[in-house]
């Protein structure tokens, strides 16, 4: 059972291969990294897979499963090169997608951009109004669907070469007949088009968000499905008949077919792998409360995991490229802070870092590729926290003098600081920016970071770990064994997962027998849909795990919170339990609950998953006397946050074994990552090769 995880990042495509006793080479784990090919991600993916098999010495045919984390869908939305989409919508409401929520993104600006108007998912010319009308609150039909208009519209869109069509009618969450019939007609007229209905993509109330999600699905649909099916056939052509599974934004994996149908579910495929990987490595050593910080070149993805569970974002908060997307996504915050973030002094003398980034081209000043602005990486070089001759194990050549020059000219001299003070300032500010995001993802939600370990990964993560942990008062830093491939490894540790929603609005406190019956019926039908999807993915009934969630609010509120149904029949006892759970959730999120208020159910959500085989990361052998000496590489000067310059030993992390202690100041060196152990801190190697760095 050989399995490969392949994660595409902005700079590198990371791969991990795990084999078992049943494979020709026995149980082993291999890692590999190739430069990403952003024009077509599949080139690097294929190259990486073939090289990895070669390196491991296994036959291509031995690979059974490939799990893929991809940014292909996200990039389409960022680069605005999706499909030409047409839309059929209720007459009188042609511009729901153009108006959005009529709020502009800036309070104090005359020259702002409204992305939903300047880069629309569906251009106005292709939004065609159709006579039809469904009425609230019961879904009665006021105006029948004008089928002739639908047919004519489809022909018009076809004549314009439109590739994808969405059908978005008002109140379709109450009655989807018109949408489904219109879809049928469109498919008859445009058999090759990518067609979806709003009630199929996301069956919830709120027209703009539902239409926007559906439009995004269609916008990224044709190219995403082309990419995925192309990759599948590439694999087969190269003699690999492994199953291909895709990481979804919710942290579960799904089949290529299902992702082609709902590409909107893989918009956060990339960062999801990191969170899952962080979760996996921490849980090996029993850590259940973590803050993961995945730091790359341009951005950092931050997520907080409480008691071992990965939180899903409130769908009302999930935006992609300025468009609301109601798809389940792991709750994470992405901020513009990474190794390439640029430091500068603004016109009023303010000292700023990011969000602008030098990326990998020109990259930090020290890369010598023409970048003259100082970056976070340059600050780390100047302070001796990264060794210029050890970047990517020495494969990446960098020039410390260029870092010094950039920081001196752009920061130190204008602000009247020494070179070291300026470099320390850059780190302090970028760390603070990340700390604020960490706080908003933790403290702001009632989480006390003092009970949490901070888990920095991605190549650039571990060098920032202690400063971040101190800034947010986390109890310790936990660096996973292979920081650079944490996300790829995460792909081999997650479950198959499908979820569906249904809009069903009623007051839970006064629910009638009839409504209760409808609730049970809706839940049952959601469950059978999800079980069907799992069966299609070869999951047997006994392996299926189902959670049933009520998205509720106090009657009159505008934002829902989740409460889970207990197992078993949906009766009054179960409903009362949901009400109670909702009150507690409200109290946790907002610090207050309205005990006497009526709780309104808005949406039912059913999540089905099946536990997959997990990566088996091998434990380390116990440390022996003398290991530290063997692991010692050399020592150099490093400047720490208190401004002190210390001669700091560097150790080869691959030679450290379980139970080993390293006193700070020290640095632990790996091919693609450096972990910092400041003075007064100690690093301890855990049984599974995580390193816990904490203050004495």
């Amino acid at each position: 059972m050989a399995r490969i995880g392949v994660d595409v990042g902005g700079t590198n495509t990371d791969l991990i291969l795990e084999t078992t006793e049943r494979d020709s080479i026995g149980r082993a784990i291999f890692k590999h990294k190739v430069p990403s090919t952003l024009e077509d991600q599949s080139i690097a993916v294929m190259r990486g897979i073939l090289e990895l098999c070669n390196q491991a010495g296994i036959g291509k045919e031995e690979v059974d499963l490939i799990v893929h984390g991809t940014t292909v869908a996200t990039n389409i939305s960022i680069e605005h090169n999706g499909a030409e989409v047409g839309m059929l919508t209720t007459k009188g409401f042609r511009d729901i997608l153009h108006i959005g929520r009529h709020k502009r993104p800036h309070n104090f600006s005359l020259h702002f951009d409204a992305p939903w108007q300047t880069d629309p998912l569906v251009r106005r010319r292709n939004r065609i109004p159709i006579n039809e009308r469904v009425l609230p609150p019961h879904g009665d039909v006021e105006t029948a669907l004008d089928e002739a208009e639908v047919r004519e519209a489809a022909r018009l869109l076809k004549s314009r070469g439109v590739e994808a069509v969405i059908i978005g009618f008002l109140y379709s969450f109450l009655n989807r007949d018109h949408e489904l019939r219109a879809k049928e007609i469109v498919q008859q007229e445009m058999p090759d088009a990518y067609v979806c209905c709003s009630s199929e993509v996301v069956d919830v109330m709120r027209e703009y968000e539902r239409f926007s999600t559906t439009a995004m699905n269609a916008y990224i649909g044709p190219r995403t499905s082309f990419y995925l099916t192309h990759l599948s056939s590439q694999l087969r052509e190269n003699g690999i008949d492994a199953e291909l599974r895709i990481m979804q934004s919710n942290g579960g994996v799904a089949t290529v077919e299902s992702c082609c149908e709902r590409p909107v579910n893989i918009l956060m495929s990339g960062p999801a792998g990191g969170v899952i990987g962080g979760h996996y490595f921490a849980s090996l050593d029993g850590e259940r409360n973590l803050i993961t910080v995945d730091i790359g070149g341009t951005s950092a993805d931050i997520s907080t995991l409480v008691d071992g569970s990965i939180k899903i974002m409130n769908p009302r908060d999930s935006y992609v490229s300025g468009h609301p997307v109601l798809a389940p996504m792991i709750d994470l915050i992405t901020i513009g802070a990474g190794g390439g973030s640029i430091a500068f002094v603004d016109e009023a003398g303010g000292f700023q870092v990011g969000p602008r980034s030098a990326g990998s081209n020109p990259g930090p000043a020290c890369y010598g590729r023409g970048g003259s602005e100082p970056t976070v990486t340059d600050a780390n070089i100047v302070l001796g926290r990264l060794d210029p001759d050890q970047m990517l194990g020495g494969d990446l050549k960098v020039d410390r003098a260029l870092s010094e020059q950039a920081i001196r000219e752009k920061i130190a001299e204008p602000l009247g600081l020494s070179l070291e003070e300026a470099a320390l300032g850059i780190l302090k500010i970028v760390n603070n920016n990340m700390a604020l995001a960490i706080r908003s993802s933790s403290v702001a939600r009632g989480v006390d970071p003092r009970d949490f370990v901070l888990m920095p990964f991605g190549g650039a993560g571990p060098v920032h770990g202690p400063a971040l942990a101190e800034e947010v008062n986390a109890k310790a830093v936990l660096v996973p064994p292979a920081p650079g491939i944490t996300a790829a490894a995460g792909l081999l540790t997650t479950d198959i997962q499908y979820e569906n929603t249904r809009s069903l609005m009623c007051d839970l406190n006064t629910i009638s027998d009839q409504q209760l019956e409808r609730l049970q019926l809706s839940m049952d039908s959601l469950e059978s849909e999800v079980r069907e999807q799992l069966r299609n993915d070869d999951v047997s009934e006994e392996m299926m795990r189902i959670s049933r969630i009520a998205e509720c609010r106090y009657y009159g509120q505008g934002f829902e919170l989740r409460a889970e149904f207990p197992a078993g029949a949906i009766d009054r006892i179960a409903v009362n339990q949901v009400i109670e759970t909702f009150h507690r959730q409200h109290e946790q999120d907002y610090g207050y609950c309205f005990e006497g208020a009526v709780v309104e159910l808005v949406t039912l959500r059913l999540i089905g998953n099946s536990e997959s085989q997990k990566l088996e990361w091998p434990p380390l052998a116990a440390a022996q006397p003398g290991d530290t000496v063997d692991a010692f590489l050399y020592e150099r000067e490093t400047i720490f946050d208190d401004g002190s310059a210390r001669i700091t030993p560097r150790y080869d992390r691959s030679r450290l074994r379980a139970g080993q202690f390293i006193e700070g100041p020290a640095m632990l060196m790996q091919h693609d990552s450096t972990s910092l152990v400041p003075p007064g801190w100690v690093a301890k190697v855990t049984p599974y090769g995580n390193v816990i760095i904490s203050q004495h």
Binding site: H102, H106, N433, G591
Partner: protein, 592 residues
């Protein structure tokens, strides 16, 4: 006096922390609240304030609230129950002659004590849907401020931590939407308490002296940023004027708005002398809590445009300091007690639009053409089966004028307004109302120009049961101007008709109070469209063709105003276009 100089790094750290506190306060308030005007529209503001009532930080919610709370605090100082602050006090305040923005915007203020000493305030304001005014929701045509509903001044809802149940009961019995009112006040309390907690954590971390030194420096920083930009404007007096439709009662009397901006060095004065006298209705602007705030907002959006700035300027007192506002006592911008002053938004928005216009000759790359610069604030109400009221407040959008580098955005809250709409479907599920139309206006063309004006909205709301509508709007007469060769936009319009008889339409004035509706009555609102920026002949034929394809522009408009000749199949006739454009240029030259 604090003499510590905080290093630039700590300063940046504290700045970020303050921002986060204000945002968290705003977030809790709108997520928790019950009335759609707070939870969906986010008609609220939240922040921290020092003992001199300077804004330390404020949430990015709605501009009309940003900068208003200091005036509330000054008003509370004059009216504070017992005359003294204690730990655990929570004050509610909405008196427009003691600093409130207008009476429905209730402030909740909590004093922050540090080691037994009063050091700052956490507070917020939020618009409540009904505080027991003469008509449900909104009011315009009333006699005096007492008709606006409950007036709360410096009164403590909590005294030393103990809730004043009598006051809560009194509030409950004086509103048509009492459950929402009292729960939304609780949400305000939760938000302010969070602010107290977070600010205390910050003080523990950095120490009081460092924290306050940093706050002063941050205020100075924002002030410096604004003053530098003011200083770059040539000194002088810049004047612009327009007029408002009427006061909501006297239909034939137009109300002038005259704005004189005096730039002197790095300071500006906005003088509203020459504007209309105060009106006998509620169509007046509280000076402290609204008029001054609008002037601050104008300069912030003109000179510290957050989209074009590389780094945001901290939202604090510094951006208010360089600006002085003058409005004669007894004028529409500075009414004398007990004049009512609830309906004040459209005057404020027009003042901002006119400040922009006044500065056009010296800031051609920063100003924009005339925006709709009004608002449509509608109150729909009726009785439920159980005899209780339902009240729904809706803010409808307008459009921006054309801009130096881009078209004016369509159908969007503009200038001083920045709320979110209420989902049509949510509304239909919960109230006896249904939306019949919500899209771009197609009955008029927006201002033409190198960059066209934004297109206004048409929104038609049908009520299913009898009830009342009050509507506060503007600009049925004074059209948004084009600039630098751009043409004027279009005025607004409001109609009422019954769904059973849609051809029989009553044209309504822009402001009306307590209009009694029958089941099936529909109010259709058409917002003004923005003016154009620059000569329409400078817009490329290709861009005009795109506009025609998207129905932003008709074939006739393309030919008549833009000089672009297109076939029925929307293909550019290059020769005809060239001929027509050169003819039009010649005509322009002659008339010039």
């Amino acid at each position: 006096m604090n003499t510590i100089k905080v290093d630039p790094i700590t300063l940046q750290v504290i700045s970020g922390a303050l921002d986060t506190i204000a945002e968290e306060m705003g977030h809790v308030l709108y997520r928790m609240s019950f009335s759609s005007i707070i939870r969906e529209s986010q008609d609220l503001g939240a922040g921290l304030f020092d003992l001199n009532y300077q804004t330390i930080c404020e949430s990015e919610s709605t501009p009309m609230h940003i900068g208003s709370i200091p005036a509330y605090l000054r008003g509370i100082e004059q009216t504070l129950q017992g005359g003294e602050w204690h730990e655990g006090d929570v004050v509610v305040h909405n008196h427009p002659y003691y600093g409130s923005s207008h009476s429905p915007d209730l402030a909740v203020i909590i004093p922050i004590f540090h080691e037994g000493e009063l050091i700052a305030f956490a507070g917020n304001t939020a618009h409540h849907i009904d505080i027991g005014a003469a008509t449900p929701g909104l009011i315009i045509d009333v006699a005096d401020v007492y008709a606006e509903g409950m007036l709360l001044a410096g009164i403590k809802l909590y005294e030393k931590g103990k809730r004043n149940e009598g006051l809560a009961q009194m509030i409950t019995h004086n509103s048509r939407a009492s459950t929402q009112l009292i729960r939304d006040i609780e949400a305000q309390v939760a938000s302010a308490q969070l602010g107290v907690k977070r600010f205390k954590e910050l003080l523990t971390r950095y120490g009081k002296d460092t924290a306050f030194a940093a706050i002063e420096q941050l205020i100075d920083y924002s002030e410096t940023m604004l003053r530098q930009r003011i200083a770059a404007i040539p000194d002088g007096d810049y004047r612009a004027e327009g007029f408002l439709d009427d006061d909501g009662r006297n239909r034939e009397t137009r109300l002038p708005v005259v704005v004189t901006v005096t730039v002197a060095g790095d300071s500006v004065t906005v003088d509203l002398t020459g504007s209309a006298d105060q009106t006998p209705t509620a169509y007046n602007v509280p000076f402290e809590g609204s008029c001054k705030v609008a002037a601050y907002a104008a300069f912030r959006m003109l000179l510290l445009d957050s989209y074009t700035l590389e780094t945001p300027v901290p939202s604090n007192e510094g951006s208010f300091r360089p600006i002085k506002v003058v409005a004669p006592k007894g004028s529409i911008f500075n009414p004398i007690f007990p004049a009512a002053a609830e309906a004040r938004f459209t005057q404020c928005n027009r003042m901002i639009d006119l400040i922009i216009r006044a500065l056009a000759p010296v800031l051609p790359e920063r100003v924009i053409a005339g925006s709709s610069a009004s608002i449509s604030f509608a109150s729909y109400s009726g009785l439920k089966e159980d005899g209780d009221y339902w009240v729904f407040l809706e803010v409808n959008e307008g459009a921006y004028g054309g801009r130096p580098r881009s078209d004016g955005p369509d159908c969007i809250d503009n200038l001083m307004a920045n709320t979110r709409n209420n989902p049509i479907e949510d509304l239909g599920m919960h109230l006896p109302m249904i939306c019949d139309r919500y899209e771009l206006r197609d009955d008029v063309m927006p201002g033409a120009g190198k960059h066209r004006g934004g297109i206004g909205v048409v929104k038609a709301q049908r009520v299913l049961t009898p009830g009342f509508i009050t509507h506060e709007s503007e600009r049925h007469y004074d059209v948004p101007w084009g600039i630098f060769g751009g043409t004027d936009g279009a005025v607004g319009r409001t109609e009422i008709y019954n769904a059973a008889n849609p051809d029989e339409r009553t044209l309504m004035p822009s402001k009306f109070s307590g209009y009694a509706t029958q089941a099936g009555d529909v109010m259709a609102y058409y917002s003004p469209c923005g003016g154009g920026y620059g000569d329409p002949l400078e817009r490329t034929p290709e861009q005009v063709r795109e506009d025609v394809l998207d129905d932003f522009c008709s074939l006739e408009h393309a030919r008549d105003i833009y000089g672009v000749v297109l076939s029925e199949a929307v293909v550019i006739d290059a020769d005809a276009t060239q001929r027509r454009r050169s003819e039009m240029r010649q005509r322009q030259a002659i008339s010039a």
